[in-house]
């Protein structure tokens, strides 16, 4: 079965926001080691704007929720802000009233493609794309196998986490981390880690 009334998009985003609030200084630390150290700040400011948008116009519709997320990121500086903005925008476009595995597969596939087109990064360039592409692949596989939304998102989260972990040993080819050469090795890419956190938040329990 594919439909889900049990997955509240709003709750998913709330858990994501809570996770980022918990981890933001670690994310910034990663950007400091291999970038300019503003990543956590950029991300938090986008998510606080998201929360404000959602509180101002409460809605449970996946489209409305992801539009609010996308708008907030597009209103944020840095490289990650606009890329995440366009990534989330594909979720808003693809998801209807109900969140289905196949709609998620379409969303994640289109979303990864948009980010790759705009950022010109391939898998292995040590960016958020290293988590986005395997997650999209996992959702597409899940849709092919007809598994339910929760299972599909759990698989996507595992794939994204593995993709993020794989960035640790890479040299960066895109973004500011590419300027620091060997110094980026040993540092997980915070953008990729954020993608993993996002999928993880889908199936987590609500935060305490």
């Amino acid at each position: 079965m594919d439909a889900t009334t049990t997955l509240s998009t709003r709750a998913w985003i709330d858990r994501f926001i809570a996770a980022v609030e918990r981890e933001s200084s670690e994310l910034t630390e990663l950007d400091r080691k291999a970038g300019d150290g503003d990543y956590g700040t950029n991300l938090r400011s986008a998510l606080r704007r998201t929360a404000a948008n959602l509180d101002a116009e409460p809605s449970e519709s996946p489209r409305a929720v992801f539009t609010a997320v996308s708008d907030a990121f597009l209103n944020t500086g840095g490289t990650s802000g606009p890329l995440f903005g366009m990534w989330f925008r594909e979720f808003a476009k693809a998801l209807g009233a109900d969140v289905t595995t196949s709609a998620l597969a379409v969303a994640a596939t289109n979303a990864a493609a948009v980010v790759q087109r705009l950022g010109k990064a391939e898998v292995g360039h040590k960016t958020m794309v290293d988590a986005m592409v395997p997650a999209a692949q996992a959702l597409a596989d899940a849709a092919d196998r007809g598994v339910d939304v929760h299972t599909a998102l759990a698989e996507a989260a595992r794939a994204a986490r593995a993709g993020a972990a794989s960035t640790e040993q890479l040299l960066a080819r895109r973004g500011r981390a590419s300027y620091v050469g060997e110094n980026a090795r040993g540092v997980v890419d915070p953008g990729a880690l954020t993608v993993a956190m996002f999928f993880r938040a889908a199936t987590d329990e609500a935060p305490a």
């Binding site: 209103n75 840095g78 802000g81 890329l83 903005g85 366009m86 705009l118």
Partner: protein, 333 residues
């Protein structure tokens, strides 16, 4: 001890300056505070291709000073030296659109390219026709095949002026965009700094120069250039800037150019006039005719001392559009 500036709070610097600019030109400009942009006071009339540009602040009068009749329809300023957001750009494009499509004029910097590309997609989805002209005139960053390409600097003024004139005369979007790309292909710039610049609220210049040396090949964000050279009389420095530009454009005897002698911020008008004199002497010697000159601080880098020289190979069409009326805070004729 932060550098002495007329400032309240560095975080409010750009938005307060926008208010101040708008209040000095209430008949030309409308200011939208959030998201921040400036738009022509008569925006909304459905009659022409609209031009929108923007980028980090700190380069004033670029771009905000070029909003008005015959040039930009809207300018979208980011924080100092930081791109505006895609959302800001989208809002400005929507406000500027006058029914015949929008030309985005984008200086080639990663953040600007990313945010303007995204904005272009967003407004295209909203049904507004958009074209983009990417300005990449800075010779100092030429020749790196794999990197981000040449930076966009003072040639953007020529693009905005010439495209703005064509749009004001009623040219269509494709034509205006094509013209802009032709200006970009015809233009190169080289710059030098006598002294670097200071971010608002900071206490140190972005780099220090040893006695008797200048920084050659600088951009407009306080970054180091491509090398140190000896400080020399301006009659030697100007040819050092202009010669590679002439070569890169393959300019030959008998050709004409538009010349921009641009002050980087704290360079005095007397100095720029002398630099312009030296440029005309040098080009005379090469048999190159200066059809028109623009001399002044047009694309600044905060309080940097120094100048850039831009040449644009000029045909009659460029000169004619250059001469067309313009009425903006920083450029009017």
């Amino acid at each position: 001890m932060p550098v002495r500036q007329l400032i309240n709070d560095p975080d409010e610097f750009v938005s307060e300056a926008l208010q101040g600019l708008q209040r000095a030109h209430p008949h030309l400009l409308r200011h939208n505070p959030d998201p921040a942009y400036l738009v022509r006071a008569d925006a909304g009339r459905r009659d022409k291709v609209a031009l929108v540009s923007g980028g980090g602040s700190g380069h004033e009068p670029l771009h905000t000073g070029f909003v008005g009749v015959g040039m930009l329809d809207a300018a979208v300023p980011g924080a100092v030296f930081a791109s505006p957001t895609a959302y800001q750009i989208r809002a400005a494009v929507e406000a500027a659109h006058r029914g015949r499509g929008v030309l985005l004029v984008v200086k080639n910097y990663t953040g600007d390219v990313l945010n303007f590309s995204i904005a272009a997609e967003l407004v295209a989805d909203d049904g507004i026709e958009v074209e983009t002209v990417l300005v990449d005139d800075d010779l100092a960053t030429d020749g790196h095949d794999e990197g981000p390409g040449r930076r966009g600097t003072a040639a953007v003024v020529a693009v905005e002026k010439i495209c703005g004139a064509a749009a004001e005369r009623g040219a269509g979007l494709a034509e205006v965009a094509g013209l802009g790309r032709r200006v970009v292909d015809s233009a190169r710039t080289m710059a030098l700094a006598l002294e670097s610049c200071t971010h608002p609220g900071q206490s140190r210049r972005s780099f220090d120069l040893p006695d008797g040396e200048i920084e050659f090949g600088v951009g407009i964000h306080g970054e180091r250039g491509i090398g140190r050279r000896p400080l020399a009389p301006v009659r030697e420095l100007v040819p050092e800037l202009a010669r590679p530009v002439v070569d890169a454009l393959g300019l030959r005897r008998g050709e004409s150019v538009l010349a921009i002698v641009n002050g980087l911020g704290a360079t005095h008008a007397l100095e720029l006039s002398v630099a312009h004199r030296e440029l005309t002497e040098f080009l005379d010697g090469q048999g190159i005719h200066v059809a028109r000159s623009l001399v002044g601080p047009y694309v600044t880098s905060l309080d940097m001392r120094g100048c850039s020289i831009t040449l644009v190979r000029a045909d009659d069409e460029f000169v004619d559009l250059w001469d067309a009326p313009v009425r903006t805070p920083a450029l009017t004729w």
